[in-house]
């Protein structure tokens, strides 16, 4: 069993209204050192079988990521 972590982020050129709203809220709270804020997803999977990284990439291709608007990374924590 491998624990696989997939991080999905809005692409740099994609609007991130959630990040913008949080950046605004932080600024209102006095955190005036904050510049850009981006908000993504953190997906943790337990995978059995061979080559969990290849399986995870296949899942990203098929469902987990929309590459028009998102980038992703896969890490395996054995």
């Amino acid at each position: 069993m491998s624990k696989v972590t997939i991080t999905v982020m809005p692409r740099v050129e994609t609007l991130d209204p959630q990040g913008q709203a949080v950046a605004g809220a932080l600024s209102h709270l006095g955190f005036d050192t904050v510049g850009d804020v981006r908000i993504g997803k953190h997906i943790v999977l337990e995978i059995t079988g061979d080559d969990p990284a290849a399986q995870a990439h296949a899942m990203c291709d098929k469902l987990l990521v929309n590459k028009l608007i998102e980038d992703y990374t896969v890490s395996i924590d054995d």
Partner: protein, 218 residues
């Protein structure tokens, strides 16, 4: 010839009854088809993907619905030239399925918007605008949280743009876009909610009529 329209219902679809009613009043027969069916009913002449919140909008709006068994049948129907209309969540599903270009992100207001909007008919040469002329304006309501279309408009045909204020931050104020062939169209506004003067506008009949042979759902 009678139109036979398949209205696809996913878990979380909301507006399948409203869409079906409008089309039945225009003389079509309608049938609600389940997301886990593998085929459209024999003799289907048009397909509607209705509004709602399929699969609770989890992962991305429309993402899970776009991978259900019925979508392979919808893809085959579309590739054979059949008319397919996606309304709101249906638009999101068609984009996620790759049948329309682009993707829909959350509104730049970060809020749910429910109001009547004006739409400019940009391209009047598809089946989706009835006899409306290019540049004319129609009035249809929107009700969505994730309606900001982003993508490359040159990969499709822009059918509708928001007039005046861009309510959700959509790229180029695009409200509805079709594929290059023009037989598949998705829009965020709800034409099925604007087909009777009593409801404030009957302009939606032009759009709903796109799935019918005679062109106007009135």
């Amino acid at each position: 010839m009678t139109d036979h329209i398949a209205v696809i219902r996913f878990p979380g679809s909301l507006d399948h009854e409203a869409a079906g009613r409008v089309l039945r009043e225009a003389g079509a027969t309608t049938i609600v088809v389940s997301h886990h069916d593998h085929q459209l009913p024999q003799g289907t002449t048009g397909v509607v993907l209705p509004g709602g919140f399929s699969y609770g909008d989890h992962l991305r709006c429309g993402a899970i619905a776009s991978r259900t068994p019925i979508m392979d049948a919808v893809r085959s129907f579309a590739e054979a030239g059949g008319p397919v209309l996606g309304i709101c969540n249906g638009f999101q599903i068609l984009c996620e399925a790759g049948l329309l270009p682009g993707a829909l992100l959350s509104n730049d207001t970060q809020s749910f918007i429910c109001k009547q909007v004006g739409l400019e008919v940009v391209d009047a040469d598809t089946r989706w605008t009835g006899d409306a002329a290019a540049g004319s304006e129609i009035s249809i309501p929107i009700k969505h949280h994730d309606g900001a279309w982003q993508g490359d408009p040159s990969q499709g045909r822009v059918i509708f743009r928001y007039v005046g204020e861009n309510p959700n931050g959509a790229h180029d104020a695009i409200a509805g876009i079709a594929n290059m062939d023009g037989n598949v169209m998705g829009l965020m506004p709800h034409p099925e909610m604007a087909c009777e003067a009593l409801l404030g506008s009957a302009d939606g009949a032009l759009v709903m009529g796109g799935v019918l042979a005679q062109g106007v759902a009135a």
